[in-house]
Symmetry: none
Subunit: 202 residues, 4 copies
DNA sequence: GATGAATGAGTCTTCATTCAT
DNA sequence: GATGAATGAAGACTCATTCAT
């Protein structure tokens, strides 16, 4: 099997607390993904992080800044994870498949992070600066798709539309899996990717 | 041209105020899509709707109920719009294309509504009851996809996964268009649908 | 006796509460003159005024605004009181004496108001706008002093300095009386005014 | 010229930092005269004094104690300065004039100190003990005025009232000069003192 | 039915003070 | 002695909701 690993069965956080700052980020993610932004007070975060209320403000100037920094850190870690299994020696199709599968597995492994990102991706809480800095998760696909376009492999459509055929189903599939509407496994993912591949190729 | 209509150029609300209740819903949608839930106070809604603060409570028991009802009404109107151009005399592919294009155009025509739905679709504000009642926008695809499965037209994948190949790209394309990352027109939509169709067919 | 009235023995507030707004002003004056600005919380004011905490904000946008408006209202009422006993038929000296005595009596009658004004007259709490709008209490002297200057009655000193010979001692005398270091009565005031008069005349 | 010196043109602090304690006092005076008591946090003082936050508490038990000690030190230094130019060989009038001019010049030279003292002189921050210990700045006048009373030189008024004719105008003149409403110079001060002298003499 | 003044619980945030290093 | 990270009590202010008119 050339697809890495199995599905995690116990959810864990991306953030492992050893500093107070990390404890706050971890607590914030947990509470916000459960209760939403306005259902999560700073007092709740402080309690969950086992930290004084004022301590949060040593690390984050305000609740808004806290959310923004959390958003960025998650995005960065997610993006990094996507490329972990990339291997430039493989075929274009194989590489796209690896990234695509990694993306879905990452979403599934960290549902709180996904819920958080979905909730705030288009929200007014995110500052313009944050929106600018967020490395779009669909970005890793870009380079590979550009190669395929040059090779005349793909449909004559703008890159941004082609990418949509990869990213759109991936996101929806992960959400459906998390919501228990479907149950994904490695075989199903490989078969599903075949659909995406068909969508973009001539 | 077998694709209905053109793109609306001026955005309008789904809600036309003639009753106080509708005025409140319309005001809520506008304010929340701009300022988010917790950036929108009942006082702001009352002012925007040109209604007394207490009046809102004649029609909605609480702010949460207001959000939930707004969510449901938007979903229902959106879903209804999708089937407007459906014609059971057409081919399966043609019918799917019509629905798919309608969905994207609907999203594009009502970006505030889309933003609102995306923001609250997975949010804790929505009661279980609301989540149950929301007729999934991807539902109109279901019946047609089932027909195709029976006819042996599609890949051997669960219905829920096949639907993902239609709904996922549609949602992403609309969002990209609204964000001005791409500019969709009727021709591009038809070509794009071809990709989706390739994704699901054998 | 040409000097009006007697000394009040029981202190009362300038503000008689019949509206919530007035109740808040009255409570604020009392508490701030006793405990100072930062020793007086909005909660304390609300309690003293027998009003909900939020109610204060219907009438005053912030604590700062509350202080500023209180300051202005006191100044205005004080200034008005000074001219109550003025009579343009009297001699210049007589008129100055009346105003001067009124000023001291006003201070003595409303020590809380005086303490409040002294505390905030040069404080950073007062906005530039307030400082501009405050009708200077020493102003009533100005016109009369100008008359005297034209008549060649006074020393050759700038008006602002002459006024100082009236206002400076008046303020200090009132403060000393309130602090029980001296006990003023009408006779003593008349004699004291003679000193002030000597200070400004040739 | 029998009047000492000229007007300082550059303001300087009474406190020259060479110990941490002095640095804290100096920083406190600067910040409080600019931002007021509750606009000045211990953290701000520590930063301005280039000292750790905890260090302040080695020298001052609390913020209140810090303010009180600052108040006392300023009063003492001011009072000492008044008698610097006193010469018991001079005439009573001359000696009073020297003290009176010194007082005004001192105020003008140290406007931050004056603002600070005015702000807290009647404030609830000052402990009873501090109020008792503060050597009243008008005190230096007392002894000389008593001499004049014995000599039958002055009006038949209580000492405390006579002193008011000296101190009241002095304070107001200094404040007006600092506020740029008037511009004092040595000649104007001498002429102004003549008014004060007339106010107290028969 | 409609209004909006009034409420007070709850919010984010500040800051004097402590204490381990 | 000196530091500054950590604390949590207390503050100003907001806002969903009520209710007398």
């Amino acid at each position: 099997m050339n697809i890495h690993s199995v599905f995690r069965t116990t959810y864990m956080s991306l953030f492992q607390a050893d500093t107070k700052r990390t404890a706050v980020l971890k607590a914030t993610l947990k509470l916000i993904s459960e209760h939403g932004f306005h259902g999560t007070s700073m007092a709740m975060i402080a309690a969950e992080a086992k930290v004084g209320a004022g301590t949060i403000y040593r690390y984050f100037a305000s609740k808004d800044v806290l959310i923004n920094e959390l958003f960025i850190e998650i995005k960065e870690q997610f993006t990094a994870a996507l490329l972990e299994h990339d291997d430039s020696n493989m075929s274009l199709q194989q590489r796209l498949q690896n990234i695509w599968v990694s993306l879905i597995k990452q979403y599934i492994a960290y549902p709180a992070e996904l819920r958080f990102m979905e909730q705030y991706a288009n929200s007014p809480f995110l500052s313009q600066d944050t929106l600018r800095r967020q490395s779009e998760l669909s970005a890793p696909f870009t380079e590979l798709l550009e190669q395929g376009i040059k090779m005349g492999l793909f449909r004559e459509l703008p890159l941004d539309i082609l990418r949509t055929f990869m990213y759109g189903p991936a996101l929806q599939l992960a959400k459906q899996h998390i919501a228990d509407f479907i149950v994904l496994d490695d075989a199903l993912l490989v078969d599903s990717f075949a659909g995406c591949w068909a969508a973009i190729t001539r």
